[in-house]
Symmetry: C2
Subunit: 413 residues, 2 copies
Amino acid sequence: MDIRIDIDRLSRELETLASFTDSLPPSVTRVLYTPTDLAAREYLKGLCREAGLEVREDPLGNTFACWIGEDPQAGAVGTGSHIDAIPHAGRYDGTVGVLGGLEALRALKSAGFRPKRSLELLIFTSEEPTRFGIGCLGSRMLSGALSPEAARKLEDKDGKTLEEARWEAGFLGELEEVPLPKGYYSAFVELHIEQGPILERQQIPLGVVTAIAAPASLRLIIEGEGGHAGAVLMHERHDAFLAAAEIALAAEAAARATGAPDTVATSGVCEVFPGAINSVPSLVRLELDIRDIDLLRRDGVVNAVYKACEAQRKKRGVHIGLEVLNADPPAHSSPKVVEALDRACAAYGLNYLTMVSRAYHDSLFMARIAPTAMLFIPCKNGWSHRPDEYAAPEHIEQGVRVLAHALAELAGS
Amino acid sequence: MDIRIDIDRLSRELETLASFTDSLPPSVTRVLYTPTDLAAREYLKGLCREAGLEVREDPLGNTFACWIGEDPQAGAVGTGSHIDAIPHAGRYDGTVGVLGGLEALRALKSAGFRPKRSLELLIFTSEEPTRFGIGCLGSRMLSGALSPEAARKLEDKDGKTLEEARWEAGFLGELEEVPLPKGYYSAFVELHIEQGPILERQQIPLGVVTAIAAPASLRLIIEGEGGHAGAVLMHERHDAFLAAAEIALAAEAAARATGAPDTVATSGVCEVFPGAINSVPSLVRLELDIRDIDLLRRDGVVNAVYKACEAQRKKRGVHIGLEVLNADPPAHSSPKVVEALDRACAAYGLNYLTMVSRAYHDSLFMARIAPTAMLFIPCKNGWSHRPDEYAAPEHIEQGVRVLAHALAELAGS
């Protein structure tokens, strides 16, 4: 079967999708359920319908575009990723797996392929934690890892609940309808940029992911005591920001102390209240992201953060509320899907690296309900979550072709 | 002369003024040139006109309410303070000196006093640095400490210039018209809450300020390198927030190291970009406020911040731009005005403490162009810049009565 990828069309579509942004191009900001997110979804659904796929959405906004196979009862073969983008991010994270997955299906159609199992493109709702503080919202609920009860408790920082937000966005129905029945997918493959420097450095065009790291996300609310910057003596202070500073540095030290390159700790959010130059900070919201492919090592860093909080309570007389937003176990890929990717690479004489993902992906949760694997392509300098994130067209093309070949084998004919 | 203070009216007026806020009461947020600030100004100008004072405004929005004396050519006697409030502050900082100053003039009128020199209430524009990052904007320009050229360069964090902002607020004319002619005031007295705990602890109703501390304000723009929190290895990072954390802690350590209670250092602003839990901070805006009544000790702490920046450049490979927003010399009170306050206290048998102000005041700049002193009243727990800032009516009443008596002596009859 001769699978031809229209990389020019795909590149144009990636460019068009990037134009749906709430920040200045080339940066991309696309947050869950914003008018910009909804407009981008409309654009994608249009492309899927043009491709002759049947589009449906669930009450959370997860979007399915199905190419019905000759045996519609058999478990489908899924591919896909996400289109939401954190503030001031780039244009390839997630979108390569969505538009690339669509192009793979289109390429198989034009190649005259007739799938036995249905082939389905899945666009996950909110892989990024930007709005509700929890990553992989869509795949968490599809897999049952996040219960409807827990989801109904989620609020954004303006106090709007997930329920209100999805209704306003036009996604009605009950969250109980979201989890997928067991066996819905017989296989799932996610194409994604590496978001790391390894493939580029080793000049290998593809990576097949055998495991996805276990992230833990913590939210700390640190309450100190405010006051006038000129009037409150140093020894009388309970400075919430200085407590946050010491905790963030303790997390960094603990992550470095494991000696393992796979341990990372990041304090990406620090909001200081009241936030005036002449006012002692009385309240701080600090959010930490701690990851490792080794659960024990990761939890060692999490414990170091707990210890640092305790030390700051004593040292500065601040109150610290600590909330574990998520602490997920690592996922392991399905040998069946990995082998399909291996044969697809071989079919095109492409070398690949088996690797681990330290980044978070919807596949982390899809792996709980379906045989799953991921396919990585290189990205420039390993950069992502920044406007200069970049993946070369030839790498995207190779990734999509291998994806299409693997999907065809998994779907059967 | 029997000076009667209508403390009930004054308390009601303080309460009404506090209702002009952009945050939830009891917190007060009133930022320069916002609709809320402009509405509060209208309320005050109305009260001044009702009191029979002649109201004028300069091109910056400094507001003068004058009771013309029998010798209009003689240098006037001024009193006043500010009404702007940092985010989520209280209702007494500044406002006690404005509404209290107005009540003092009203009390003198009803007592039948006829001033030889004009008596003038002055409401300064933006004592707080909230919007343009520089404190005492109004008094800086009135005293010539801030040149029109420098003022025209000021921008708020949205990039709006002071010029655009004041024009939009309806304050036209040239900034060159703002500086006061030498000798405009023969004396100036500012009534203010202490913003410190000393008077309350010693149970002394009044403080006469003999010196005002010298504040320095620094703005640091720290540029690191962003990236995905899962993908960028720890040793490859250039984390702008962790650099800010170490600099803030270094400033605290240096302030404590002087051993003098009058040395204070505060990092009140820390804005982290992009501010997502799974993104390495690429840019941070850190603002520090460093004060002391001793210029050398204060500059020692400022130098420690410079050293910390240099250390972070080396350690983390970040770029740090450092801007000194202001570094003012201390001010000393005029013996003539201090003696007038001393006699006024004696006239009512009130004990007072001579003290130093570590907080910033417009009097710091008025002292450059007029014989100046300040009168402090106690505030609860020394708290200010917070919603539970509080001054007792009896303390306000005693302060206003002493102020009125001193103003009468300084104006002559």
